[in-house]
């Protein structure tokens, strides 16, 4: 499998990363997601990485880039399901996931996303 499937759920995109991503796959995901945010006109992106056993600085940077790019396009990105062992490791590695919202699981991520979308539309006065 060379592509990670992106599902549309109401007004958000859901991505579940279930394989050990090699670098090219990560680049493709970044491009595909950004494209789909515009195409589908969504307000939020949920990335589930609970199957990922390792997050290195490359994946960390990719998650940050996706969050920045989607925010530029008016959609918030939330990363959910970071494993405890991964959390310990990325902190020590120095990856801060700056600008990336996180939540424990998909449920909590959805709730956070809804509240973020609400706040941002209130700020815009719509």
């Amino acid at each position: 499998m060379d592509k990670i499937p992106i599902l549309k759920l109401k007004d958000l995109l859901l991505v579940t990363i279930q394989v050990d991503m090699h670098d090219r796959m990560a680049h493709t995901l970044q491009e595909d997601l950004t494209e789909r945010v515009v195409q589908d006109g969504v307000k939020g992106v949920l990335i589930d990485i609970s199957s990922l056993e390792v997050v290195d600085s490359f994946i960390g940077r990719m998650l940050g880039n996706i969050a920045s790019a989607t925010r530029t396009l008016g959609a918030e990105t939330i990363v959910v399901g970071i494993r405890p062992s991964v959390a310990i490791t990325i902190v020590e590695l120095g990856v801060t996931l700056e600008g990336v919202h996180t939540a424990l699981n998909v449920d909590k991520g959805m709730a956070l996303l809804q509240s973020l979308i609400k706040t941002s539309s209130q700020e815009k006065g719509t």
């Binding site: 290195d56 600085s57 310990i88 990856v95």
Partner: protein
Amino acid sequence: MKISHNETIHLGASEDISYIRQKVRKWMVELRFSLVEQTKIVTAASELARNTIEHGGGGRAQLIVLTDNGRTGLQLIFEDNGPGIPDLELALEDGYSTGSGLGLGLSGSKRLVDEFDLKSKPDKGTCITITKWRLN
């Protein structure tokens, strides 16, 4: 110190980074390292393998199981014949990057392991050795 297991992996393309991650994980599981220890070393291996490929123009990684006074450790040696690192001290600082990364590869990996050794010669290449000992 005794070497009880030894294998060399070629590092040429980015797919090899996934391969070494899987390989190191397998070895660490067999050696009964804890999950956090496994994750730290697999992550360090991923960072250093990427350095070897991106900055060293490819090379090889050697996986070694060490036993010393009853303790068990995993040692990984990353070697390339690339341009070398001109300023080792600077290269080990957080945020120093000549590539497109976050500049955490070397400094971050160092924090994830018990022993870290970096040797580099201009135009000859770079050799990085990391070791993790199993907590008993």
